[in-house]
Symmetry: C2
DNA sequence: CTTTAGCACTCATAAATAGAGAGTGCTAAA
DNA sequence: TTTAGCACTCTCTATTTATGAGTGCTAAAG
């Protein structure tokens, strides 16, 4: 890409750093004062004009300072960004959080809490996609009789994920027949991925056992829902944080984002399609148009070496990238240990 | 309370109705034009001055129209409010929604969907408190062995609510001993309310079975959490709707509410403490200070004739009360039928 | 050739001023 | 008791007028 000489890079870095902090267009004088580049304002002015022409900076209006363009941020993130840093307190806070998380048993709780922590630490909005189990495989199905009419079906995956439902028992079935059906299903389905329990496969089973159709359809419904179902739930944290950003002082701007936050499926799509590792999408690099004024930093977390979920931080393009990245890496990697249940 | 003569009531009603629609202070002329009270603007002016002195109206500034005071809204809601009305389409929409809800099995889904519907219909923000099971009684506990090391504990309440968890089995225990423990617990706890499983009671059991302490503590943990635990989860719908209200065009105003929306426990408290039936809290009648510019209309829904949850709509004090009340009653009562699982 | 000082110019933002309009309260007549 | 008339208040909008930060360009200095 661009062959920015050393000086241009330093200046660009200064502009981005300053703008991230102040949210105000930064002028040539401000830079020559605040950053010890040993250059006069005039020189910096010239370089900034160049940087603008190259597409790394923009001017809100003719006689204002410069602000980084999307391309400017991109270059900053790829090449200039300073080393990460967390304060002592933050480290301590994180450590404390993780011991808390360890204690929690309910996956929802863990995810929810993670979202909260992520937003508190970054002061942006956080998105957390709970673990996806559709890639895990069918382990077994159990039927626990509750009374004469009802029973509890328990579906267990290889990853230990459990789903249950109460179903009605047809009176006619003896308990023996019941256990036959269940063990038949267990045989047939063992080792299949949940995702792979496609409708056609299930339909075939259905015809195999057509005599027991009523009971069976209830069982199958549970399975079917497990494969499609709303596992992709996204938990949000710090949604009100965006209101602290000066770029969202206008209510109209916020409205689009807020509305987006209510559309779980679109959010989960964004997170599901993030690559393994940390990914950074700046401005219009985001597919979702509502996010085109924002940057989204995401990371996936693993479960037995397979990515099963993702966490993300959404803020203005003027985001404290290095800080956010550090935090998100930290949390994602620890989540690997916590989510083993 | 106040002995408002007929004419004053009519005028107050006109002011409130108009203000609810327009969100603009309403003047004497506007009323004499728009409402056929056959009175001149001057007369209305006099009456409005009286109404202000009596505390039902306020003036934003000396030469502006009047807007209803909190007391004004209260009187309107108690005495003046017009009859409810829903359009054909809305009725149809509702009917359709209910058939959809009937099909859903997962309680979370139902609650979530209800929140959404409520917010779409009212165009305010909706709060839905999922069914509370702490008043229901312990029915039975089951242990489903998964493999040699692990087992699934299933806790079932009289209302059919189910909670499960995987626990580790101490190697030393024979399956016979296991079932002994479980049946002992079943005996001891049968019929107790979940809430009543207080720490002391559980501690006593713990000492009874101190020999099996390791296993037991896992079981008891599940119970304990069931009695305290986050059952009081509140689902929100249409949070971005508040941004459409002109009274929240200022970001600062919104921020407080948005932040409140992230504090689940406070929200659930509000809903838990609402009376059976429909309740309307206007402005500072709300205990939560962040809501003092809002009105909250809530209704509880039943399960076997006992209130177990609540739904609510939060909007500006300038709310379409009669409309909201109709909708909320409608939905709450239907929820009674849907939530029987 | 690069850097810097100097200077005119641009443009947003803020403060000051002037009208316009909506609505009131009061008085006096119907 | 009601209504018409009128002066008065106060917000809101538009216009004007500074102010000042920051630029681009030119010409001199290194």
């Amino acid at each position: 890409m661009a062959g920015l000489n050393d000086r241009k890079q330093k200046i660009l870095q200064a502009v981005v750093t300053d703008y991230i902090q102040t949210a105000e267009p930064v002028g040539s004088r401000a830079i020559s004062r605040r950053y010890k580049l040993d250059l006069s304002a005039a020189t910096i002015r010239n370089e900034m004009a160049d940087l603008e022409e190259l597409g790394f900076l923009t001017q809100p209006h003719t006689s204002a300072g410069r602000i980084p363009s999307q391309q400017g941020y991109r270059f900053y993130v790829d090449a200039l960004m300073g080393p990460p840093s967390l304060s002592r307190q933050e480290e301590a806070y994180l450590a404390n959080v993780f011991t808390q998380l360890q204690k929690m048993r309910e996956i929802d709780q863990i995810v929810q809490q993670t979202a909260k922590v992520l937003s508190v630490l970054t002061s942006y909005t956080s998105l957390v996609l709970g673990p996806q189990f559709r890639h895990s495989t069918f382990k077994q199905m159990r039927l626990v009789p509750l009374d004469e009419e009802k029973a509890l079906v328990v579906l267990i995956t290889s990853t230990g994920h459990i789903k249950h439902r109460v179903i009605n028992l047809p009176q006619a079935l003896s308990s023996q027949e019941l256990s036959q059906i269940v063990s038949y299903l267990n045989e047939q389905l063992a080792g299949q991925t949940i995702e792979g329990l496609s409708a056609t496969r299930l339909r075939q089973l259905r015809s195999d056992l057509y005599a027991r159709i009523e009971l069976l359809s209830q069982l199958l419904l549970l399975l079917e829902e497990s494969s499609t179902d709303g596992e992709g739930r996204v938990f949000l944290g710090g949604t009100s944080n965006i209101l602290n950003q000066p770029e969202f002082k206008d209510v109209e701007k916020v409205k689009h984002l807020l509305t987006l936050f209510e559309e779980g499926s679109r959010l989960s799509f964004v997170l599901e399609t993030s690559l393994a590792g940390v990914s950074i999408r700046i401005g219009t690099e985001n597919v979702i148009t509502e996010m085109s004024d924002c940057s989204l930093v995401t990371a996936t977390y693993q479960l037995s070496n397979r990515p099963v979920g993702a966490i993300g931080v959404l803020g203005p393009t003027r985001m404290e990238y290095s800080r956010v990245i550090t935090i998100i890496e930290h949390i994602a990697s620890h989540l690997n240990f916590v989510v083993q249940d």
